[in-house]
């Protein structure tokens, strides 16, 4: 089967992919479509199946059921060396018995491309490691090995590049730098990148589209901002950033919004930001969208107010102050207040009210664990 090395990326499609291992199911009903040229992030906690998905796309695992299509072609039965896909492995997987130049040239040699060493050298220069071409991988630092692994994959101009938590072992500064470089390379060459990670900041920063995975299936997929501002499930709301969640049965419902009653407070969400419109629902709000007040605020129906409650914890994180407020019959509510230079205005034990705009509420399609007693 001749491999078509298109100068730009190809799209990836997973249809109904299922993967069973003896004893458990890693992937169930995976449906995915990544358009060509996109930087796509697969985000999730360890064990959610994201690495399995990657391996199935690379051809290193066979799906129990379903299809894998690259550039419209069904590659489900193809072996890894027959697919126009390259992987940057989490442990880099550099060949210890070859110089890094030979490592990078390996794929080119296998495909019998002309001037493999020259092209390999170009790739090494791209990641600023040309000077180390004759060294062995064991002589390089983690960050350098990481870049060699990247060069080794990129030099083959694959239609689809898979990255398995490639930045995990790097320190913060290096990671930031690599994130910028990766994104730049991807945009310049137009390759399709599938990046697997458990680091949500990384996913949101680099990707055009993020898919949040949990327990073998995709919970929610979309542009980073959309995902962040409007999470649809309790898992996504907690995994991506932090959320305050409130559970209650629907008390009021009109054309535009829904409200639940919690501990004597009315918590409202616009209907077009609510997944579920009947029965018991969960409404949430991001902590940075909330503010606290020292006296009971007088705000209109476009705001939600809860309180009074006592401040039980204050954390200073440089950029912001994080307050934890215990409101009787409601629960603990987190408020992020950006550190705009005003010295701490509130102290532990003080009594405050919390408010936010209704338009910032989001309604989930499910309930947080422990609340399902419908």
């Amino acid at each position: 089967m001749a491999i078509d090395f298109t100068p730009t990326g190809a799209d990836l499609e997973l249809k109904n992919v299922r993967k069973d291992f003896p004893g458990f199911t890693a992937l169930e009903d995976m449906d995915l479509h990544i358009p060509a040229g996109e930087f796509f992030a697969l985000l999730g906690p360890s064990g959610c199946g994201k690495t399995t998905t990657l391996r199935i796309v690379a051809g290193l695992e066979e799906p129990t059921a379903g299809q894998v299509l690259i550039g419209g072609k069904d590659v489900t039965a193809s072996k890894p060396h027959e697919r126009p896909v390259n992987t940057v492995f989490q442990s880099y997987a550099l060949f210890p018995h070859m110089t890094i130049l030979e490592n990078v040239a390996f794929g080119l040699r296998q495909r019998k491309i002309d001037e493999p060493l020259k092209k390999a050298m170009d790739a090494l220069n791209l990641v600023e490691l040309g000077y180390a071409a004759e060294r062995r991988p064991q002589q390089l630092s983690g960050g350098q090995q990481q870049r060699v692994a990247l060069a080794r994959a990129l030099v083959n101009r694959p239609a689809l590049l898979l990255l398995d938590e490639p930045l995990g072992a790097l320190d913060l500064k290096l990671r930031r730098q690599m994130q910028i470089e990766l994104k730049a390379i991807q945009m310049e060459v137009g390759l399709t990148f599938l990046h697997v990670t458990h680091d949500q900041e990384e996913a949101m920063d680099m990707a055009d589209t993020v898919a949040v995975m949990n327990k073998g299936h995709i919970e929610q997929m979309g542009a980073p901002e959309a995902l962040y501002e409007r999470p649809k499930t309790a898992f996504v709301s907690k995994f991506l950033g932090q959320s305050n969640l409130f559970v209650g049965s629907i008390a009021e419902s009109n054309k535009e919004s829904l409200s639940i009653e919690v501990g004597g407070h009315k918590i409202t969400v616009p209907k077009n930001r609510a997944e579920k419109h009947t029965g018991k629902i969960c409404i949430g709000v991001r902590p940075e969208k909330t503010t606290f007040h020292r006296t009971a605020p007088k705000l209109g129906s476009d705001h939600v107010v809860v309180g009074p409650g006592e401040i039980i914890d204050i954390r200073f994180t440089g950029v912001s102050n994080q307050y934890l407020i215990a409101i009787p019959n409601v629960g603990d509510v987190t408020v992020f207040a950006q550190n705009v230079g005003i010295s701490p205005v509130i102290e532990l034990g003080e009594k405050v009210w919390v408010s936010w705009k209704v338009e910032h509420s989001f309604g989930l399609s499910d309930l947080p664990a422990g609340n399902e007693d419908e």
Binding site: I3, A58, P80, H81, N86, P96
Partner: protein
């Protein structure tokens, strides 16, 4: 632990004594290879000479036996190494149902007494109408070397991260290329140790060889037969030579490994 100063010394002292004890016959053999024994026997010390080392093949029987042993060793090592490496890779890399049975089947030859194996093979060859000779010896040697090769290579395969082979496949190498360009070079030290081990076992084997070699003379057979009358010094020369060569190979490979490790950690 200061009060145990005497106790602290006992273990090292004991160990060095034990080591010295182990080396006594070796030293004796090497020393007597320099014995200026006028007769064919080599039991009493008669003076120091290099003659036996220089003219080791003046005694033609010894060198003939040595040549046979080397030939048998090389051929059986080749066969055992190929078969054993394949088995080791299969055992480590793949999961299959008959695993316990295969482990047992490979262990038994190591645990079988040489008389049993020797007699059994001799009987088999006899019944099959195959005369005992070079072929039967080589076949017999492969049998007992095989499991040792598997054990040694298996240990090496287990340290080989499968992700390296996956990376090879990801980079367009088909299974055969993955093996020759990635797996094999990385397994080479283990395969080399296994080959060395196999050769030493084959070279030194007596019992199984005795039952299955017919008229082919090997070095151990030669020594055994002469044990009654007296083993000539030339035999000591050969044994000492083999010993020194083997120790050198082992020491060199250990030092080599140490240097490599230091170099990698240094940069």
């Amino acid at each position: 632990m200061k009060r145990l100063t005497l106790g602290k010394l006992t273990l090292p002292a004991y160990s060095f004594l034990a080591m010295a004890f182990m080396l006594i016959p070796i030293v004796y053999t090497i020393v007597f290879s320099f014995n200026d024994s006028k007769q064919r026997t080599n039991t009493t010390w008669q003076g120091f000479t290099f003659d036996k080392w220089l003219g080791v093949c003046k005694n033609p029987d010894v060198c003939q036996a040595l040549g046979n042993s080397i030939f048998i060793g090389v051929v059986s090592t080749l066969i055992a190494t190929v078969l054993g490496t394949a088995l080791a890779i299969g055992l480590v890399r793949y999961r299959f149902k008959a695993r316990a049975l295969v482990n047992l089947a490979l262990f038994l030859p190591m645990a079988t007494p040489e008389v049993v194996l020797g007699a059994g093979l001799a009987g088999l060859f006899f019944n099959a109408g195959v005369g005992a000779g070079m072929t039967t010896v080589i076949i017999a040697h492969v049998v007992f070397c095989l499991s040792f090769v598997v054990v040694t290579v298996k240990a090496r395969v287990q340290t080989l991260d499968p992700v390296l082979e996956e990376a090879g496949r990801d980079l367009y190498a088909n299974p055969s290329q993955v093996f020759w360009k990635i797996t094999f070079p990385l397994l080479l030290p283990g395969i080399f140790s296994a080959a060395l081990l196999s050769f030493s076992l084959s070279f030194d084997d007596f019992i199984i060889t005795y039952f299955n070699s017919g008229s082919v003379e090997t070095f151990p057979k030669y020594v055994y037969v002469l044990a009654a009358k007296g083993v000539p010094a030339e035999a000591n020369v050969i044994a000492s030579g083999v010993f020194i060569a083997a120790i050198l190979i082992v020491l060199i490979s250990q030092i080599n490994g140490a240097i490599k490790r230091k170099r990698m950690l240094g940069k």
